[in-house]
């Protein structure tokens, strides 16, 4: 009976783990919905900013905002890595960190001094293990990054950039494309890229939106306060903040999706394992009964 008992014990353990992974899956699903809602709500802002920029578009500024200034080669770069605080999220952290390390090495190869800042405990531990010096750790961005928290970072980065202490800001994070697809990417946020792949579709959207809204959305003669250029110059830092905030939101949504998928897989595996163990147990029990029967029959024959 010893073998059968051992199998039962294992099966119990597997069932318990399944309960945990299943619960985690449900929690991740709920969090994902919330994070997704937040991301959708936040979109209105970026869309409006883009719209306003396109309304201002006719009056292109004579001088580009200093945040656009490209400095080649970048002597001091800053790499911000967005990871999660918790594990059990499949390849989520691994992918981001792999992309981050690649960028880190590329930047170093180009001869830049790279400072690394990281958000999330997973990234901190990994970089500690790789013995990469980290200049700042942020652990307070959970699954609900607040704008005023991100704004603090954005303000600091802009100041560092304008003071010339950094020449480039890269962010490694997981970009949310749709619920089925997210990818780890490294994006350069400062200097603000003029041919931004994200900004291009947005501009197109902004152009499409007025068309969809009908003739009422023709170019209006705006009154500018203080003036078009002044507003445009103010708009640049705001759109940078919005962009950084979007990185955080994307990372939060992607984390929950990754965890959801990982936990779903774990639950399925546990199910399968539990089934196999049940089969093994039944077989063990059966063979034991057969053995017992053979013993009894053998004893009965011997008595005759």
């Amino acid at each position: 009976m010893a073998k059968a008992r051992a199998i039962i014990k294992r099966r119990k353990a597997v069932d318990n783990i399944r309960k945990i992974t299943r619960t985690m899956e449900l929690i991740a699903t709920a969090r994902f919905r919330k994070a997704m809602d937040r991301a959708v709500e936040a979109e209105a802002y970026t869309r409006k900013i883009a719209e306003m920029a396109s309304d201002l578009g006719g009056s292109s500024p004579s001088t580009l905002h200093p945040l656009y200034e490209k400095r080649e080669p970048a002597a001091n770069a800053l790499l911000l890595v967005l990871t999660s605080n918790r594990g059990l999220a499949g390849g989520y952290n691994g992918n981001v960190l792999r992309a981050a390390i690649r960028d880190y090495q590329d930047l170093q190869a180009e001869g830049s001094q790279v400072a690394v800042e990281v958000s999330g405990k997973r990234g901190q531990n990994f970089l500690k293990y790789r013995k990469i010096p980290v200049s700042a750790n942020y652990g307070h961005f959970e699954d609900k990054p607040a704008f005023h928290e991100v704004e603090v970072l954005a303000d600091r980065y802009m100041r560092l950039f304008l003071e010339g202490k950094i020449d480039r800001l890269d962010v490694a994070y997981t970009r949310f494309i749709n619920t089925a697809k997210q990818e780890a990417v490294v994006r350069t946020l400062l200097p603000i890229p003029t041919d931004d792949p994200d900004a291009a579709p947005k501009a197109a959207e902004a152009k499409a939106a007025p068309a969809a809204a009908g003739a009422g959305r023709e170019k209006a003669e705006y009154e500018f306060l203080p003036d078009a250029e002044g507003i445009l110059q103010e708009l640049v830092p705001v759109s940078f903040k919005a962009r950084l905030f979007k990185c955080f939101l994307d990372a939060a949504v992607s984390e929950q999706i990754a965890r959801m998928v990982a936990m779903k897989g774990a639950s399925q595996n546990a199910d399968e394992l539990s089934k196999n163990l049940t089969r093994q147990y039944n077989r063990a029990r059966q063979s034991q009964i057969t053995g017992d029967l053979a013993d009894i029959v053998g004893a009965a024959i011997a008595l005759e």
Binding site: R38, K48, M52, L225, P226, A228, V238
Partner: protein, 148 residues
């Protein structure tokens, strides 16, 4: 936005007397509110600007201060933290990093914060600018919450 535009077009066709404004306040986190209102007072960077239905299109930079809206006879007041305002087709869009209803502003120790901000030594140009910003912000916040 989707429902705002038809309303605006509708507003544009009715006779001048009965027009209403569509006012939406958008923060990076969410759309704080979207309402149909009679009047909006915007805190622009150099002073207050009132918007009534039929206002010519406008793009403006906001300062720190009070955003007031009038619906029927009631007035609602919000504190906005800089940003931009756009007026067109009787739609007022306010983009700001924060919009707090006046009665929800937490004033715990902000008087002390104001004193602190006033005491900060500012030497360089950017420091002076930063200080002025902080002081203006706190002053506006205190002002709005006192009125509420």
């Amino acid at each position: 936005m989707a429902d705002a535009i038809p309303a605006a077009e509708h507003g544009a066709t009715t006779p001048a007397g009965s027009k209403l404004l569509q006012c939406q306040v958008v923060t990076p986190e969410k759309t704080a509110f979207a309402k149909t209102v009679d009047f909006v007072a915007l805190p622009l960077f150099d002073g207050e600007l009132g918007v009534l239905p039929g206002r010519a299109p406008l793009l403006g930079r906001l300062g720190y201060g009070e955003l007031r809206i009038k619906v029927g006879g009631a007035t609602e007041s919000y504190f906005v933290d800089g940003g931009f305002a756009q007026v067109r087709d009787d739609v007022v869009t306010v983009l700001t990093s924060r919009a707090i209803p006046a009665d929800k502003i937490e004033m715990n120790g902000s008087a002390a914060k104001l004193d602190e901000a006033l005491k900060v030594k500012a030497v360089t140009e950017s420091e002076v600018e930063e200080k002025e910003k902080a002081v203006a912000r706190l002053r506006a916040m205190t002002h709005v919450s006192r009125k509420a």
